[in-house]
Symmetry: D3
Subunit: 277 residues, 6 copies
Amino acid sequence: MFYHIKELQYDAKPERPDPIFAKQLQEILGGQYGEISVMMQYLFQGFNGRADKKYRDLCLDMGTEEMAHVEMLATMIARLLDNAPVKDQEAAYKSNPVVAAAMGGMNPQHAIVSGLGAMPVDSVGNRWTASYIGASGNLMADFRANLTAESQGRLQAVRLYEMATDQGVKDTLSFMIARDTAHQNQWYAALYELEQRENDIVVPSTFPRKLEKQEVSYTLYNLSEGEESKKGRWASGPSMDGKGQFKYSQPVSYGPAPSLTPAPKYIHDTMIPPIKS
Amino acid sequence: MFYHIKELQYDAKPERPDPIFAKQLQEILGGQYGEISVMMQYLFQGFNGRADKKYRDLCLDMGTEEMAHVEMLATMIARLLDNAPVKDQEAAYKSNPVVAAAMGGMNPQHAIVSGLGAMPVDSVGNRWTASYIGASGNLMADFRANLTAESQGRLQAVRLYEMATDQGVKDTLSFMIARDTAHQNQWYAALYELEQRENDIVVPSTFPRKLEKQEVSYTLYNLSEGEESKKGRWASGPSMDGKGQFKYSQPVSYGPAPSLTPAPKYIHDTMIPPIKS
Amino acid sequence: MFYHIKELQYDAKPERPDPIFAKQLQEILGGQYGEISVMMQYLFQGFNGRADKKYRDLCLDMGTEEMAHVEMLATMIARLLDNAPVKDQEAAYKSNPVVAAAMGGMNPQHAIVSGLGAMPVDSVGNRWTASYIGASGNLMADFRANLTAESQGRLQAVRLYEMATDQGVKDTLSFMIARDTAHQNQWYAALYELEQRENDIVVPSTFPRKLEKQEVSYTLYNLSEGEESKKGRWASGPSMDGKGQFKYSQPVSYGPAPSLTPAPKYIHDTMIPPIKS
Amino acid sequence: MFYHIKELQYDAKPERPDPIFAKQLQEILGGQYGEISVMMQYLFQGFNGRADKKYRDLCLDMGTEEMAHVEMLATMIARLLDNAPVKDQEAAYKSNPVVAAAMGGMNPQHAIVSGLGAMPVDSVGNRWTASYIGASGNLMADFRANLTAESQGRLQAVRLYEMATDQGVKDTLSFMIARDTAHQNQWYAALYELEQRENDIVVPSTFPRKLEKQEVSYTLYNLSEGEESKKGRWASGPSMDGKGQFKYSQPVSYGPAPSLTPAPKYIHDTMIPPIKS
Amino acid sequence: MFYHIKELQYDAKPERPDPIFAKQLQEILGGQYGEISVMMQYLFQGFNGRADKKYRDLCLDMGTEEMAHVEMLATMIARLLDNAPVKDQEAAYKSNPVVAAAMGGMNPQHAIVSGLGAMPVDSVGNRWTASYIGASGNLMADFRANLTAESQGRLQAVRLYEMATDQGVKDTLSFMIARDTAHQNQWYAALYELEQRENDIVVPSTFPRKLEKQEVSYTLYNLSEGEESKKGRWASGPSMDGKGQFKYSQPVSYGPAPSLTPAPKYIHDTMIPPIKS
Amino acid sequence: MFYHIKELQYDAKPERPDPIFAKQLQEILGGQYGEISVMMQYLFQGFNGRADKKYRDLCLDMGTEEMAHVEMLATMIARLLDNAPVKDQEAAYKSNPVVAAAMGGMNPQHAIVSGLGAMPVDSVGNRWTASYIGASGNLMADFRANLTAESQGRLQAVRLYEMATDQGVKDTLSFMIARDTAHQNQWYAALYELEQRENDIVVPSTFPRKLEKQEVSYTLYNLSEGEESKKGRWASGPSMDGKGQFKYSQPVSYGPAPSLTPAPKYIHDTMIPPIKS
């Protein structure tokens, strides 16, 4: 069960309305790496947790915090939309090019659809979709997804911070950026712990290595002309899992050119030889 | 530019057709973490690469390999669909419960839409969408996404290996699983290199820390009842970025309960006080 | 079968082109609560109608009218796009800020994709999807969906009316708003009739109440801090279905904290205790 | 902010695993009218609330409860998936037709993607999308959407109750069905209160009626052959808003057949008269 | 405006219910090339028609017919779902493997969501989306899309005919297949007429050829190893537009390897050289 | 397998950055008829090819070329985004209306999400989806889809050419337009060859005509008031397949008005007669 506390985790008050920034800020609310995504991802990982209780609890602690972030951003966006000048557009466009530009840059659904409220959409208006998130039951895989989400999320928050001029907005973003710092550190720590415990960095660590074609387990194929990619840590030396040596190789084809069996007649694919009706 | 070589990277020949497995195998072709996703993700990261050439080349090497995996899986799926028994269904259902079960378990679009061909869909038939992928220009963020994709992808391939009984299928999967081992190791190495070079694990490392609310940068809030989450590496000790100490804290509210301004009349939101028409 | 009459249900002629308004007007054509949605929703309810003929006929009457609205709006949008100034953009941006703003505010697909035609999209360009609509076979549930659609639809039309300055546009909208008034009244009447006939307001009325946990059938749980929600009609007094008394209650947990069984090994979830590879 | 309590609102324990029912039960978790939809819809209505505090609080009370329902259903689905027999499929299909049928009827992603966990998807595997929900700022419109969602949701839960044979599943569903009874009554009461206060049933009540084409505000057009639809409360008598009389009318066309202006040459639409290259 | 006639264009009565076939038949109702797609595509082409009236009328004639096809298929699907055995599933699965198989193969939403009604979805349950259709204002482009849709549509109908055993279903499909024959012939004729009139087969014919890089206007590049593709009409001889000669060529690169400018600091992309925080 | 060559197929260098045009150019990269669509469509047709090798090779030649086009456009878009002025927005909006307009017209995700990189999206930001493409196994159907895609694609490229003022952009587009000319000619030729070989223009040509209702195989129904559509090649004379005569006919109904059986009680649809709870 959940319980809602009226106070915000952090204040979310812009100095003044700005409907264009409201549109842009939607990215970290309802975008691919926005707060709805991390909230849903962590909660489903928690609800489905079949492993140690502490991981389950960790997911639920963080997922519950992300809900507070959804709330803060929704509140901020609603305030950025206060009194958005959507009435009598022609007048606005004619009299004031700056207002006109602003109107051209706002999301029209903020006026027409949500009535000056936040929406579960990204900065171009794509509706949030669960295609953004994952929960696999394998925590090393999932915590890597979480670390990714926090990395992309903090990057986007930082870019918005750079674009912003409103001190209220910047202040709220500085809080959210700090929380992303915390979450990146925490998922990183959890991954470190799991890698130690499973004694491997390869997901899933439980599949016997002898069942995979081990001769290609550490090779980088040079499939893009030029050898710039040879110069990295990934191309030579011991592999990161400590179980092999990195190799750099020209492309190899292990299989023949494929040839498919013709389809049965009742499928009505094009057949060889020519068909007469 | 690209050039296509007719030979497959590895053979993709099942011992015998199996339309149910064809449906399931679609997951790692056209699903969220399937081969189309990694191919598109790596190629876009490569095409957009503004940093060192070696990272760009690495992305293009791997993205180009993933195209070969798309080809292998498409070929395998087409062969698993050879002669799928979709004609005269009623007869099949009546005479043979095992065939009936098989027909109930295949993807009907493999017969009706693709004519026994592979499709850019997942194992339940969702069409592939670019909502699955990301390329941000920040390589640490993006390579974490890549490591995640290879981790989830190998996990799914392993699960399919466990479900399979056909030795041809298992053999092809054992190749793909090995390549996922290689790719996990390689992205892991690239991340290690980037973390060393940027001397930080927090993305983006270029945002001045003093601009974030540093007092909350290492705290885990206990927002889910119970303290199981206190027992992990993430809750105490030095933070993973080496710049602070992890803290475990009861929830704190830094903001007031929000109150929004009423909308202007021309928005026609519900107003306070009661409106008379 | 259907038959198409060339005349429009109402004229759809703006005084002058306005590509920005064309973009905005798309919301009530191809948006979540636009004319395509109600057309498809009512037609499917009609086609699937297994109850009294008069409800089936009502759905088909209205669904057929909504097709005329799709036609009117498509026509209006095409006219708003007449001679949209998309050629030689740089010149326009440089010479005339108001034209520049207009160009920034139009939907580029109106030029590139549809060639100055209307599209089945909303005001930000999301393609129409059948995820917007429903037809369940239970008319009380479905007519509530219809009343909702007409309410949201009229609200959006009214907001567009407020934004418009073109008298031709306003005139057409005033017709569509009146039809939404009619449709809200009609679905409301149909719902009233169904509630009387089923002697209940709860959908479905055919499920025996004794099979539900009746002790929680009229309670509002105070799950958000503060008791403002206690002051409404919904928190005390007889319930609206006349079968109970509203109650206001602090949160109650009837179930234990859940604990899930570990997954079988072949699933490769993270396991307890630690796994060694 | 939110706080998570470990106990479930109600127990969610099936008597035994059943992967087919797990797939079906996904409908009311991640489907169009599932718990994720109502949770997100009510929370956004609450966060965006600009009207009386009690409505905001009501939305947050209910939205917070729906999160508990998401948790219960996710838990139930995970348990229904315990030990799903996905290994060595061929053996299962050959030896036991009932197991074979079960495997054909389960969602393969429950094994391959989520590792026996619940997913934010419906019963056929469509990922949850925010296209399902709405929050307009006009409470009468929104509460009608809420009443619809609870009506469709209870209908679906009742149908699943009829399909179920497991007493644990039925018991949990009987709790959820009762809560849907409560929520239908509560939104119905809130709507009643709003209609009284606004003295109208037409949304938005704040648009001056004289601005709409009032001569068509109460007419039902007989656009589907036959007059069955004439026999309802909606076709004659006083209108539900008390402001007019229902009318039944043969179709009327108020507008001319439209004719569109040819596009400018730079659009490259097909032109009249014939174009020579 | 439209008018609905109660009679079906053709009867749509299966001999007996068959919920599996109902699911499969959804493909040509709500799938990519189903009746909803052609209906919407033709209607939007008609509504947006800026060229000769006869083309506009043709689109509206056909679009209006496709609505009748939507109605026929929806009716057929509803009848195939009559009395679907969805109650007490466990009993069904245990007692009768053939019924069990049938239940595993039906779309669960046909019971849970639509109450035994047709849905605007394809055979795996993807909701219909306007991403399937197009209307560009250039009739040669659009009629090619129409000819494609009728070709794919007839192919799918033929495949379903092969899968069906019910004589009522086959009879209805034989009507729809014949209509697809008519529509393929008609769009083919319209294309022939347009090609004659525009004296070109290349869309758009109105773009001056001298503005394109004409030296590559008729070349096929051999970008896939092997020269099988050299043996077709497309690789040599006069081009189909009569304005050039087909050529077969080894791949040519006209551009240099690209190199992108580093991003400005405020974008926080990965930079060259190493960044110190 | 594939191999990547660093050189571009053609140069992709704008004279100067232009973030608005970057947004617009996305249409032909990641839109419905953009380069990702043709690349994926041709590759899947090739991978699934069960007919003559030369068609398979043709699809792979062209699909591989389209990948080079994806690369060129991605490169062009990245360069158009060089140094996009997204920092300190307020200043820009205030000081310079033309810059302000430009900022209002750019895709905010180009700054926030992709860090000045191209994205797999269209010109309004819809993510690319495999719903755009098809591969049916029947080559006549598929090559018609390919001809359509090249026609719509060239039309969009031409429109963008008209909108552009940058000579670098125009030059690249003139190359892509020429390649579209080539591809239209080539698919046209392949279709011509297939029609000759199958001696029919109707897809699939392998379904016995006697199994369709041949009396309606060449009729155009006048379902839209007025007879403008009678004046085309499609309404009289020999049919294009040479097997019949076109006819023009007033609408005919071959079926009765449908009436559906009531649903079983356990479905909880609305029933006839009135239900008492």
